[in-house]
């Protein structure tokens, strides 16, 4: 069937089996920033925004995306104008292998959209579904806190 979604601000219709995992559809449609790390909802590498909330693409079926507004990291910033969060993770050395980064950034964006002044604990709670094996999380959390400060200004 045709699945109608708004992806990164654009209205599109995807030909898909409604029972396919949304992650597979997104990758097939070229949204390579949505990563497959476990396919079981445990690692968070495929985190996207669904109507503004961070969710796992691998735990959604294509049919569930109908009529929803989806955001991937492709829409967060551009090389000329990166998002403050992207700037912050780069400056804080919070990107190591970078495989978890897109999902991490979207969880962080959802947090800052909802709570512009998060505490350290708020950031930890918002990112608890995004596993990272490289950084020990410290610099990622610091980057998100720094970005929240810059966004408030």
């Amino acid at each position: 069937m045709d699945i109608h979604v708004n992806i990164n601000g654009q209205a599109v219709a995807w030909r898909a089996n409604p029972g396919e995992n949304l992650l597979d559809v997104l990758r097939r449609e070229g949204f390579a920033s949505v990563k497959r790390g476990c396919n079981q909802g445990d690692c968070g590498a495929c985190t996207i925004l669904v109507d503004g909330t961070a969710q796992r693409a691998c735990l959604l079926l294509a049919g569930q995306a109908e009529g929803r507004s989806l955001v991937t990291v492709e829409a967060l910033g551009t090389p000329a104008e990166p998002h403050v969060l992207q700037q912050a993770v780069v400056e804080h050395g919070a990107v190591q292998c970078g495989f978890c980064t897109p999902g991490m950034l979207l969880s962080a964006k959802a947090l800052l959209d909802e709570n512009p002044s998060p505490t350290y604990a708020d950031v930890c709670a918002a990112l608890d579904g995004n596993l990272c094996r490289c950084t020990g999380y410290k610099k990622i959390i610091e980057a998100v806190l720094d970005a929240s400060g810059r966004l408030r200004k």
Partner: protein, 771 residues
């Protein structure tokens, strides 16, 4: 000696060169740009821990629409080799072939299918009929060498290719031993002798990107393999070996890597991809599922370590006897070298006058061990540092003072360096840089070691623990790294390196080294790593070698290019060469006159004395200078539930000059959290038939943000004269601390010694005698 020199680029936390592209979500990984018409691979895996394949029928699978090829032991070459991505000839035994007639662990390869979709490939797998003769498995490493134990490698062509002990008839994959002095006499002299056993567990690296590789047919019968690997040149060599085709037919490209930690120092899936690419003439993509990553990738060697030590009441060490039983699983990947590192990366840290060390690596019918960050030092430090804590307390000394008294000093050597190498003998070396004393001092202060212990909260008790660590920096006399640099019209440079950045930031560190020498900003250095058709050879990212070894190759190549530029500029400025310095993108003469590097490049490319300013350099090393580290932790132990919570963790590390302090800190923080997670909850659980029961992140827990303790990293600068700008390694050492540090802190809190990891609540409560 700390050589104070101000650097423009080195020593600064410049942004990682690939980090913005990654943060923008660019298609930089292997899976991100699969060509049209790509076939997908799935592998049929053994349901038995130990069995012979009596017959295999793939006819029904082959007839499924969309199946392009099915391969198995009957239709691929049998070439015995190792999957370990090591220098040739490898120290790991040749006990593996693409598909064998025998399976040796649950998850071992039986057959592979390439099909139009993963779903079709899965369906085809389900139609392959295999008749097994199930054999008795060996599931307990302690019984692997017993008389009458089933023999796992009974194939006649399994062998060692360097002269080392290898006795598959008694399941011995590797053995190493050494002795210095009369150990028994040392124990006789001692006031206190401790003899303890330590057990540490299977664990997996869990890179968030699993192993994946893409094969593509090229012209002239060549194939390109784009693969998530730490060792692109070893992939090329070993795939050529496995397929019995020349190296020249294989082109290996390493894109961005989603983490490796040693798991990708292994040629694990590329052979299948290459075979299927050649057989089908089509692009072929293979990605391990998370479940397969746990079961069929590589793991940390689980070990049983017996440690006997003697000490005088005044704190003087008299003797050490370290006896290691290492479980290498079904194949001997890294079996020997990990065993060697148990001694060579741990015993030199203290001044033992008498040393005995022996390690056996045994085969079992369990998942295959391999390289994992820390590489034996993790396991042996666990035993040694807990025992040192116990020794210090036994003679009434503060564990910090005990270590300060006994650790190796600058200018000293250890007989272990010469006796133990990576498989064979080692290389004699003395310590030219060590900041351990300073690490201990700063760490002691940061954690508040001398202050009164914080009050307990009811059943929750608090304690402090510490440990000291060392590692190495590359494999002396074995590893080689090289670099090629050429200059472009705008004063930028292409830096081509075989060194494999797997997310660690080595591209950035190497760019900083080149930029420092060439007097330019990092943005002027365009790094390409690694592409076997384009970049010069490098053994790859392992053995804590890239910054120290490949970095020195880069420094040498950059120095050569700088000399060429200075010569050219001297001609342009009409001044002697020696008066020209490179600075801020210009060649500057002593008299203040200067030309831009761009002008130099344009002249050499288009005008005068035309040629490409470029240089290549290689580097090997005669030593492996250890980084040193002191780790401290404060923990809480809930004596009713057994739950341990790490509250604060301090890691002070001497990595020589930190070329990029932020990236160095990141290496430490990542390693420490991985280590804490390993110490507290990571383990493989097997059923009675050798099947892993918890091969998912749902049941195999790794720490998330909400588990994170406060981690403080303290970089203690020293200057290693043989490293680029004084640098040593930093990426592995940090993972060795948490196992002993947390155990020591738990003892401090509740008076119980944990010598078996992980320290799960259940195990802790049991140790407390409450279960």
């Amino acid at each position: 000696m700390t050589r104070k020199r101000s650097f423009k680029v080195v020593g600064h936390s410049v942004a990682k060169v690939d980090s913005m592209a990654l943060a923008l979500g660019g298609p930089l990984f292997c899976a991100d740009r699969l060509p049209r018409g790509c076939l997908y691979v799935r592998v049929l895996r053994s349901p038995h821990a130990h069995a012979r394949i009596l017959s295999i029928d793939t006819s029904r699978a082959e007839s499924v629409e969309g199946v392009a090829a099915v391969i198995h032991h009957g239709n691929v070459p049998r070439v015995m080799r190792t999957t370990a991505g090591q220098g040739a000839p490898e120290p790991s035994p040749y006990d593996f072939t693409t598909f064998d007639r025998k399976v040796r662990f649950v998850g071992d390869r039986v057959a592979a299918v390439a099909a139009e979709t993963e779903a079709v490939a899965e369906k085809a797998l389900s139609l392959i009929r295999v008749e097994y003769q199930v054999l008795e498995p060996v599931l307990d490493p302690r019984r692997a060498m017993e008389k009458g134990a089933p023999r796992i490698h009974d194939e006649p062509d399994a062998r060692a290719v360097i002269p080392v002990p290898y006795e598959p008839e008694r399941n011995l994959a590797a053995h190493v031993d050494m002795q210095v002095g009369d150990v028994e006499n040392g124990f006789k002299q001692a006031d206190v002798v401790l003899d303890r056993e330590y057990v540490c567990q299977y664990a997996q690296h869990t890179p968030i990107e699993t192993h994946c590789a893409l094969g593509e047919p090229l012209f002239n019968g060549r194939i390109r393999i784009t693969t998530s690997t730490q060792v692109p040149f070893h992939v090329r060599r070993i795939v050529a070996q496995a397929l019995e085709i020349p190296v020249s037919r294989i082109h290996v490209v390493k894109p961005r890597i989603g983490g490796g930690f040693g798991a990708k120092q292994e040629v694990l899936i590329e052979d299948i991809v290459a075979l299927l690419t050649l057989r089908t003439g089509r692009p072929v993509y293979f990605e391990l599922s998370r479940g397969e990553e746990f079961i069929s990738s590589r793991t940390r060697h689980s070990m049983v370590i017996k440690l006997k030590t003697g000490v005088l009441k005044n704190g003087t060490l008299t003797a050490v006897d370290l006896d290691v039983l290492s479980n290498t699983g079904a194949y001997g990947s890294h079996a020997l070298t990990v065993a060697c590192n148990c001694g060579s990366k741990v015993l030199p840290l203290y001044r033992w006058p008498r040393i005995r060390f022996a390690a056996d690596a045994v085969y079992t019918n369990l998942p295959v061990a391999g390289a994992y960050r820390g590489y034996g030092a993790t396991q042996a430090s666990f035993a040694m540092e807990i025992q040192l804590d116990e020794m210090a307390r036994a003679i009434g000394m503060d564990p910090v003072d005990f270590r300060l008294m006994n650790h190796i000093r600058k200018g000293e050597t250890s007989p272990v360096f010469a006796a133990l190498g990576e498989g064979g003998e080692g290389v004699e070396q003395k310590i030219d840089s060590i900041g351990l004393q300073r690490c201990i001092q700063l760490g002691t202060k940061a954690i508040g070691w001398k202050r009164k212990r914080r009050a307990d909260r009811g059943p929750v008790k608090r304690g402090l623990g510490m440990a000291c660590l060392m590692q190495g920096s590359s494999i002396p006399g074995v590893d080689m790294g090289s670099a090629f640099i050429k200059m472009n019209e705008d004063g930028s440079f292409n830096l081509l390196v075989g060194a494999a950045d797997l997310g660690t930031g080595s591209d950035t560190v190497l760019a900083q080294i080149a930029a420092e020498v060439l007097g330019v900003e990092v943005s002027k250095i365009l790094v390409r790593s690694s592409d076997t058709d384009v970049t010069p050879f490098d053994v790859g990212a392992y053995a804590s070698s890239t910054t120290y070894l490949s970095g020195e190759a880069v420094r040498k190549a950059a120095a050569d290019v700088a000399a060429q530029i200075r010569k050219e500029a001297a001609g342009m400025l009409d001044v002697p060469v020696r008066s020209v310095r490179l600075k801020d993108g210009r060649a500057v003469a002593q008299n203040g006159e200067s030309v831009t590097l761009s002008a130099v490049a344009l002249r050499s490319l288009y005008e005068e004395n035309q040629r490409q300013i470029a240089a290549t350099a290689s580097h090997i090393t005669k030593k492996s200078p250890p980084p040193f580290s002191a780790h401290f932790a404060e923990v809480e132990v809930d004596t009713e539930t057994g739950l341990i919570r790490v509250i604060r963790y301090v890691a002070a590390v001497d990595c020589g000059t930190a070329i990029n302090p932020a990236l160095a800190e990141g290496q430490v923080e990542g390693a420490v959290l991985n280590g804490i997670s390993y110490a507290l909850c990571e383990e493989f659980l097997f059923d009675q038939k050798g099947r892993m029961r918890n091969n998912s992140f749902r049941e195999y827990k790794i720490f998330c943000t909400r588990d994170l303790p406060e981690i403080q990293t303290i970089l203690v600068p020293t200057y290693e004269p043989t490293g680029p700008f004084g640098a040593k390694s930093v990426s592995e050492i940090g993972i060795n601390g948490p196992l002993p540090v947390i155990s020591n802190a738990v003892f401090d809190a509740v008076g119980v010694r944990l010598r078996e990891a992980p320290y799960t609540p259940e195990r802790v409560l049991s140790a407390l005698g409450k279960l």
